[in-house]
């Protein structure tokens, strides 16, 4: 029975053939041969028993499997004998699959996959461009959106929402900071999301007095109520206001955070921005908004009717905005007002910031993958050449050509299986790590899950690259003439020149990729160094900053906030070793905030650009060590005196070379006197030019979001717990959003750049190592095969120096050509990543030179050991060993 277990089938065949031999021998004996002769005659008559068994096994049909098992065993042995090659191959495969799967998955989940809402293609973000402010789209004016809602026919719904950070508490304990979204009740109708428990908002929730409800996300429900189903109608306090929980959102629901749907595009994303955890309805009183202001605070989302394009909707909203300009009260129109709408698919809005960076990451991974595959191919090729003699012997002993190919296949499948499995594990681990400790703020991070089609794809690509690189040389071997190979391997000849040439040019391609990657890495490193080392205009060492969110309920009056601020500042200054403490109304390095026009009262016609207003306390400039250029810093006596401190740039713009001290400016309908000028600082962002600033005394309008800063003689991180205590000492109920060192704030503000640079650096180093490995491998092999030739040369008088140059120059042409082409490609690639680079000239000769020198040194280091081996060949020894 052919399906019988191989072993018993094997025994069966053995028995059958034995019986045959016995019978034959008996017959031969009967015809007069002695037993021994009869035995041999019987064997002769039967033929080659091993061959017969083989043929029968082939008939059985499991021959393929049998060969396979045999070859796998053989491959295990041969791979075990060359652990260096095995480790390299497995690692290459594992890293290739792991890294590419992780990165492709992130790219796919963040950029490519549609947002996880029903018919998400219809969702759009609507903004407005206001010419007298700037040309970039801003969050629209709520009054305009109200008219859009009433008049636009292209939308099935439009909503308004606003992000905020809110303090959440349940009874006792310090409030904790969560992300909150305040929205019109129709948000969930537009997103087409149903509640998991309870309900989403009803239109009544948007009526004053009925708006004290809240809808929680699944994760907040889990962390706050541990998934208790009796959560409905419980009360939580958000910013000191009681709210009744009416609904829980589904687990799969994720809403982009404030970085993803920004209302002012030029404001940089803030690292550590919490994802929205609670949704609150807003009872919008439109009369509190002006007709031509309040831009850049609200986000408008809408759902287009089926078949309507974003462009058409944009034209319709722009037309309505035209009507708005006509209809608005005359005193609110600016003469130069021009209002247009901008409608962008929501997905586009959410992912646009991350796009360039992620594509860069993907290109780097793809490049590295290519290099790894090339390296593997080169190693395989070298291995195949080294085993030519073995293959020839096997062929001569009767192995079929297919057997040789099978052999290579088994070996590669084995490598692919081990490397692939490791790679899959690596991909899982990398993604898990990425989700848990995201190195950069990415939208849709919660949606990043290992994508099995991506995994399958990268396994397929990497494994097939490995198989191809392993099989092609094997096929070539199989088709080569064994006799020729056997003769050639007497190693006097120069080895197969063609093969070596192919390998050196593979090295050239590798060098090309490596050089391009290194150049881009160099540009990013230089850009990061520039960002870190440029003159900021302030000093961050020994400074810590604490963000406090005062709520309108408890601290509604200016007076109460001023009292709080004073008390906390006094507490801070009482901390031992604190040298200076102050407060400011905006977190440094988190972009512009509160921009207003500012004019000289004596020259009202002179229009300047909008400037940043910051409310600061005495001690702020001392804590951040900003340089005073003229006049003086704020002091306590400036309280209520309508004084202003200008930044250098603003003072120059208004007064030129005149002395601005004592001059009068008009801002927010108030006349203020200039008492000081401080040096320009990059306090809004390290990535943009210093912003024009006007600093006002905090007591003029104490901010709700207050940022306390303290400078100490001790290390800044020791200040962190003490600042927390100093604030809660005054009131344990205030929400401390975060306390961190100023240095870490700098680092966080550069998180995307640091991430990109460190990834590129890692890839660049890996690529360099791969290239070095490739050069080393090819030259080593070449030296081994040319040992005799080198011996002859030395016997004929070649010096050791000559042998060094001979060996090291062997791969020099491909290396130099590859290097030049790679640098050129890197320079061209720079254009694509321009927007991510700072302080870099178009073609940076320093970076190019550094990369070229670094690379040549590395290449020389890789070529040196083989060259030394060549130079240490003893001519007598080499000639004798023929």
């Amino acid at each position: 029975m052919w399906w019988r277990r191989p072993k018993s089938r094997e025994m069966d065949l053995e028995r059958e053939l034995c019986a045959h031999l016995e019978l034959e021998a008996e017959e031969q004996q009967q015809s007069g041969l002695d037993p021994e002769q009869a035995h041999y005659a019987a064997r002769r008559a039967l033929g080659n028993a091993a061959l017969i068994k083989e043929q029968v096994r082939e008939v059985w049909g499991w021959a393929l499997w049998d060969i396979f098992v045999q070859e796998i065993r053989y491959a295990l042995r041969t791979l075990g004998r060359s652990p260096g090659f095995t480790a390299t191959a497995v690692l290459t495969l594992a890293l290739g699959i792991g890294a590419s799967t992780a990165v492709f998955t992130v790219v796919d989940s963040v950029i490519l996959k549609p947002l996880a809402y029903h018919n998400s293609g219809q969702l759009v973000q609507a903004s407005e461009r206001v010419r007298f402010l700037s040309l970039e789209p801003l969050g629209p004016n709520p009054r305009h959106v109200d008219l859009w809602q009433k008049r636009a026919t292209d939308f099935s719904g439009l909503t308004l929402l606003r992000y905020r950070a809110a303090g959440l508490s349940q009874g006792s304990g310090h409030p904790r900071l969560i992300g909150a979204v305040t929205c019109l009740p129709n948000l969930f109708d537009i997103l087409q999301v149903q509640a998991l428990l309870g309900r989403v908002f009803l239109p009544e929730d948007g009526v004053k007095g009925h708006d004290n409800v809240a809808v929680l996300t699944y994760s907040l429900w889990q962390s706050l109520f541990h998934g208790d189903a009796n959560v409905l109608n419980r009360t939580i306090r958000i910013d000191d206001t009681p709210r009744v929980v009416v609904g829980i959102l589904p687990e799969r629901f994720h809403f982009p955070n404030a970085n993803a749907l920004r209302t002012i595009l030029s404001r940089p994303p803030v690292s550590g921005t919490p994802d929205p955890a609670v949704f609150l309805p807003v009872a919008l009183d439109l009369t509190q908004f002006s007709w031509n202001g309040d831009y850049g605070n609200w986000v408008s989302l809408g759902r287009l009717k089926p078949g309507i394009t974003a462009g058409r909707a944009e034209a319709q909203l722009t037309a309505i905005d035209g009507e708005v300009i006509q209809e608005m009260p005359a005193n609110e129109t600016h003469l130069e007002s021009k209002l247009t709408a901008a409608v962008q698919p929501m997905q586009e809005a959410v992912v646009s910031d991350s796009r360039t960076g992620l594509w860069l990451l993907m290109a780097a991974v793809a490049g590295l993958m290519l290099l790894a595959c090339l390296n593997l191919a080169n190693a395989q090729l070298g291995r195949a050449m080294a085993r030519r003699r073995e293959a020839a012997v096997r062929t001569a002993l009767g192995a079929t050509k297919w057997r040789l190919v099978w052999n290579a296949l088994a070996e590669n499948l084995l490598l692919a299986a081990i490397g692939g499995a490791t790679g899959v594990l690596l991909a899982f681990a990398a993604l898990d790590l990425f989700r848990r400790y995201p190195p950069v703020d990415l939208p849709r991070l919660a949606e990043v899950h290992l994508n099995f089609s991506v995994l399958a794809f990268s396994v397929l690509v990497v494994v097939s690259a490995s198989l191809l690189s392993g099989l092609l040389p094997a096929m070539r071997l199989a088709s080569s003439d064994p006799q020729e190979s056997l003769q050639q391997s007497t190693s006097r000849t120069l080895g197969n020149r063609q093969h070596t040439k192919l390998r050196t040019w593979l090295i050239g391609v590798q060098v090309f990729g490596c050089a391009a990657l290194l150049l881009v890495t160099g540009l990013f490193s230089k850009s990061l160094l520039y960002l870190l080392n440029q003159d900021r205009g302030f000093q961050t060492g020994h400074v810590a900053v604490a963000e406090v969110r005062l709520t309108p309920n408890a601290y509604g009056t200016d007076q109460s906030r001023a009292v709080f601020d004073e008390a906390v500042l006094a507490n801070l200054r009482a901390i031992p070793a604190v040298q200076a403490a102050g407060l400011v109304s905006a977190m440094p390095l988190e972009g512009v905030s509160w921009i207003e026009p500012l004019i000289r009262t004596d020259r009202p016609k002179q229009e300047g650009p909008l400037i940043n207003l910051r409310w600061v306390s005495p001690g702020y400039f001392e804590a951040t060590r900003q340089r005073l250029l003229a006049g003086r810093f704020f002091e306590d006596r400036d309280r209520g005196r309508n004084n202003v401190v200008l930044s250098e740039g603003e003072a120059k713009a208004l007064w030129g070379n005149e002395d601005p001290i004592g001059g009068q400016v008009r801002v927010r309908n108030q006349t203020r006197t200039v008492i000081g000028v401080v040096a320009d600082s990059r306090s809004t962002s390290l990535k943009s030019a210093p912003a024009r600033m006007a600093y006002l005394h905090y007591a003029d309008q104490p901010p709700f979001a207050t940022f306390f800063m303290a400078r100490s003689a001790r290390a800044a991180d020791t200040l962190v717990p003490e600042m927390r205590r100093a604030i809660w000492k005054y009131s344990p109920d205030v929400t401390i959003a975060r306390v961190k060192t100023f240095d870490s704030q700098v680092m966080d503000s550069l998180a995307p750049e640091r991430f990109q640079t460190s990834v590129l650096l890692a890839f660049g180093i890996a690529a360099l190592l791969l290239a070095m490995l490739g050069i080393y491998g090819v030259l080593s092999y070449s030296v081994v095969t040319r040992k005799q030739e080198i011996g002859v040369r030395m016997a004929l008088g070649a010096t050791r120096r000559r042998v060094y140059t001979l060996t090291m120059s062997e791969a020099s042409v491909p290396v130099i050509v590859g290097l030049a082409a790679g640098l050129l490609a890197g320079i061209l690639a720079e254009g694509a990543v321009r927007t991510l680079l700072y302080g870099i000239q178009r073609v940076d000769p320093m970076v190019i030179a550094t990369v070229a020198v670094l690379f040549l040194l590395a290449a020389a280091a890789a070529a040196f050991p083989p060259a030394r081996r060549a130079a240490s060949v003893d001519p007598m020894d080499a000639l004798r060993s023929e």
Partner: protein
């Protein structure tokens, strides 16, 4: 005793299967008997390496044309041989092969000896 190899005829490819099937028409037989039978019937004219018989037997078994069973030899109950037996499918196959062979040989004959045909 084997004859001189020059006077022996190489078996045509594919005909061994037919010969085995035909041999088994007389009743079950083991490998050695089949080999012996073919050799003796053709008076040692056909050169069959005994070894080549076994792959063929296993091939036919796999195709279901013959079935095999270990059975004691007729007289000697201690020894068992693997006896092959024709299955109904094998019988049909034999008929098909036979007619195919007849057509082939008559076709060849017509080309080789056209005059005799007339």
């Amino acid at each position: 005793m084997p004859k001189e190899s020059s006077s022996r005829i190489q078996l045509l490819q594919g005909t061994l299967d037919m010969l085995i099937l035909r041999t088994l028409l007389f009743g079950p037989a083991h490998g050695h008997q089949i080999a012996r039978h073919i050799q003796q019937t053709t008076e040692d004219l056909l050169q069959i390496e005994h070894g080549s018989l076994y792959p063929a037997l296993h091939r036919l078994e796999r195709r279901g044309w013959i079935a095999a069973k270990w059975e004691p030899a007729g007289k000697d109950l201690k020894r068992e041989f693997k006896y092959y037996r024709l299955t109904p499918a094998g019988r049909r196959q034999l008929v098909a092969e036979e007619s195919k062979w007849k057509k082939l040989s008559s076709a060849i004959a017509r080309i080789m000896w056209p005059a005799e045909e007339n």
